[in-house]
C-alpha cells in the first residue's frame, strides 16, 4: 500500500473580486489534476514558489481540505470518508510554518500531550509517549518550560514532538523552516532527517529552499497547481533553466556548475553540494 496516493486531485475555491460593477465571483483552481504516489519510508520534497499550490496540497493529506475533484488516499484511506478523518489525521501528522501559532498549552510537555489526549490514549501511555517524543527531538530538559520563552527552532521541534506523540506513519511539514534563523533551520532539518532515517517515518517536506530539497529521496516540483517535474534531486537540479522558468532557484553551486559547463568546462551538471564541487574541481586540475 502506498503511503499517499493522489489521482486527478483538483481543488477549486471561489474568490470574490472587487470590480467596478460590484463584487464578482471567480473560480480559482489551486490544484489541477495532480497525480502522485509516495512510498512508505520515503523522504519526499514538494517544491514550488509562493502561490504554486504546494500548501494546498499539504492540507489535503491531512484532510484539512477536501478535493473538489479526484481522490487522495492516505494508507488506502480516502480522505473524503468522514468516518476515517481522525484516523487519517493520526496517520499523517502535520507541522505548520509559524511555530507560535501551533502550540496550544503553556507548558511544553502539556502541549506534546495534546494530540494523544485528543485521541483518548490512556494517561500512562501518554506520559510514555511524551517522554519518548521529547527524547527524539532532544528537548528533554525543556519539558517543564513555557513555549513562549523558547527559540523558533526549539518551538518547531516541540511541534514535531507533538506530532510524534500521536505515533504517525507520515509527517507532512509545511515550510517548517520559513520563519526560522539559520541555527533553527539546521536544528529542524537535522531532526527531520533523523526521523526519516532512524524511525522510518515517511517525510513530506513542503519548501522553497533548494538546499533543503537536495536532502530528499525524491522531489516533486509544483507550479500553478500542477506537478511539472519529478525525480531524484540530481535529475531535477541539473535542469537549471527549466527550474528558473518556474520561479525557483537552484542551489548556488549547481548554478556555478551550470555556468562553468556553458563556458565549456567538462564537469557534471548534477553537482548539488559544495563538497562535490570541490572534489570535481580538484580532480579536474589533476587530469588536465
Amino acid at each position: 500500500m502506498k503511503m499517499v496516493k493522489a489521482e486527478g486531485l483538483t481543488y477549486e475555491y471561489i474568490k470574490m473580486l472587487e470590480t467596478d460593477h460590484g463584487t464578482e465571483e471567480e473560480k480559482v483552481a489551486a490544484l489541477k489534476a495532480v497525480d502522485l504516489e509516495i512510498e512508505k519510508g520515503e523522504f519526499v520534497v514538494v517544491l514550488g514558489h509562493n502561490g504554486s499550490g504546494k500548501s494546498t496540497f499539504a492540507k489535503h493529506i491531512n484532510a484539512l481540505l477536501l478535493p473538489t475533484q479526484g481522490t487522495i488516499w492516505v494508507e488506502g484511506m480516502d480522505t473524503k470518508d468522514g468516518e476515517l478523518i481522525w484516523e487519517i489525521r493520526q496517520t499523517a501528522g502535520m507541522v505548520f510554518q509559524n511555530p507560535d501559532n501551533q502550540l496550544v498549552a503553556t507548558v511544553v510537555e502539556e502541549d506534546i500531550a495534546f494530540g494523544p489526549e485528543n485521541m483518548g490514549v490512556a494517561p500512562e501511555e501518554i506520559r510514555r509517549r511524551v517522554d519518548e517524543a521529547l527524547a527524539t527531538v532532544h528537548m528533554e530538559e525543556y519539558a517543564k518550560h513555557t513555549p513562549s520563552k523558547l527559540s523558533g527552532g526549539q518551538k518547531q521541534r516541540i511541534a514535531i514532538a507533538g506530532v510524534l506523540a500521536m505515533k504517525p506513519d507520515c509527517i507532512v511539514l509545511d515550510e517548517p523552516t520559513a520563519m526560522l534563523d539559520p541555527v533553527g533551520r539546521k536544528e529542524v532539518m537535522e531532526t527531520i532527517e533523523r526521523l526519516n532515517k532512524d524511525e522510518g517515518i515517511t517525510i513530506i517536506l513542503i519548501t522553497h529552499y533548494m538546499d533543503e530539497a537536495v536532502r530528499g529521496d525524491r522531489v516533486y516540483v509544483i507550479d500553478d497547481g500542477q506537478v511539472v517535474m519529478q525525480g531524484r534531486p540530481k535529475e531535477i537540479f541539473s535542469q537549471v533553466e527549466r527550474l528558473q522558468q518556474y520561479g525557483l532557484d537552484v542551489p548556488q553551486v549547481t548554478e556555478v556548475a551550470h555556468l562553468l559547463r556553458k563556458e565549456g568546462l567538462n564537469i557534471p551538471a548534477d553537482i548539488l553540494t559544495v563538497e562535490e564541487m570541490v572534489g570535481t574541481l580538484c580532480q579536474f586540475k589533476l587530469t588536465t
Binding site: 484539512l64 503553556t106 483518548g120 513562549s148 506530532v163
Partner: protein, 274 residues
C-alpha cells in the same frame, strides 16, 4: 516596559499549601468567602485572621505579596469606610454636621466592612499565589463538570483560559513590536491630551487585532490537525489525584466552618459581649 506585566501571580516556592490539589483549594476558598459573610462579631474576625495568618505562614509566600492586592481596591475600601462611618444612623451619637453623623454603630460597622473586604482580597490572593494557572484551569474544569448537563461548556471554558494564557505573552511581544514600528515612523504615544493619547492607540490596536484573528485561524487548523474535537473521548495526561494531605485540608476546612457557625450562634445569644 510592556513585557514586565506578569500574568497570573503565582509565587513559586515549595510549601504544603502549594502542594494541595487545586480543587481542594478552590473549594476551601469558596467556603472561606462564604464564612466572611457569616461572621458578625469581632471574636469571629479575630478567629478568621488567625486561620488566614496561619495559612499564609504555611504557604511561605511573603506577606508583602499577599497585601499587594489591597492596593488595587484601596479606593473602594476608603469609600466603604466613609459611607459606613458617616451614613449609619445609631443611638450613640458622637458628632453631627448637616447630614453627616458619627455614631458608635457606624464606627463598628465601618471597621467590620473594611476587614471583610481586606480578608476577601488577601484570601483569594492566597489561592492565586499558590496555584499555577494550569492547575487552576484544570481545577475549574473539573468543578464545573456537574453543571455540564445544564449546558455549561466546562471543557470549552477551560480550553479558552489555557489558550488565553498561552497567547498573552505572544500578543504582548507583538504589541511591543507594533508600537516600536509606529514610533520609528514618528508616532507619539506619550504626549497630548487624554483624547489624543486614546486616538494614538488605534494604529496599534488595528494591526494587533488583524494578527490575532490570523493567529486564531492558524491555531484552529493546527488543533484540528492534531485531532482536536472537543472533550468527547478526551483523556488527560496529568490526572488530578487526591492525596492524604488533601483530605486533611478538607477536615481542617470543616472544623473551621463549624467554629464559624458556632461563633455566630454564640454571638447571637450573648450579643452584649459583641
Amino acid at each position: 516596559m510592556i513585557r514586565d506585566i506578569t500574568i497570573g501571580q503565582f509565587y513559586p516556592v515549595e510549601s504544603p499549601i502549594h502542594r494541595l490539589d487545586a480543587r481542594v483549594k478552590l473549594t476551601l476558598t469558596f467556603v472561606y468567602i462564604v464564612t466572611l459573610f457569616l461572621i458578625n462579631s469581632f471574636v469571629g474576625y479575630l478567629f478568621v485572621i488567625a486561620v488566614l495568618g496561619a495559612s499564609i505562614k504555611a504557604s511561605k509566600v511573603p506577606l508583602k505579596f499577599m497585601l499587594k492586592g489591597i492596593k488595587g481596591i484601596m479606593v473602594i475600601i476608603i469609600f466603604t469606610a466613609f459611607i459606613n462611618l458617616f451614613m449609619t444612623r445609631g443611638e450613640q451619637l458622637l458628632w453631627q454636621w448637616g447630614f453627616l453623623s458619627l455614631t458608635v454603630e457606624g464606627i463598628v460597622l465601618a471597621l467590620k466592612m473594611c476587614m471583610r473586604l481586606i480578608l476577601l482580597i488577601v484570601g483569594s490572593s492566597l489561592l492565586t499565589l499558590t496555584t499555577t494557572p494550569i492547575q487552576l484551569t484544570d481545577g475549574i474544569e473539573y468543578m464545573l463538570r456537574p453543571f455540564k448537563r445544564f449546558g455549561m461548556p466546562a471543557h470549552e471554558i477551560a480550553m479558552m483560559m489555557t489558550i488565553a494564557l498561552r497567547f498573552i505573552p505572544t500578543l504582548l511581544d507583538e504589541t511591543d513590536k507594533i508600537m516600536k514600528a509606529q514610533q520609528a515612523r514618528g508616532a507619539d504615544f506619550d504626549t497630548g491630551s487624554l483624547m489624543q493619547k486614546a486616538k494614538s492607540l488605534i494604529p496599534i490596536l488595528v494591526p494587533l487585532f488583524i494578527s490575532a484573528f490570523r493567529r486564531a485561524e492558524e491555531l484552529a487548523m493546527a488543533m484540528e490537525a492534531r485531532c482536536y474535537h472537543g472533550d468527547e473521548n478526551r483523556t488527560r495526561m496529568n490526572r488530578m489525584q487526591m492525596h492524604r494531605r488533601d483530605y486533611g485540608a478538607f477536615v481542617v476546612g470543616a472544623i473551621y466552618l463549624v467554629v464559624i457557625i458556632g461563633l455566630r450562634y454564640a454571638g447571637n445569644t450573648f450579643s452584649s459581649l459583641i
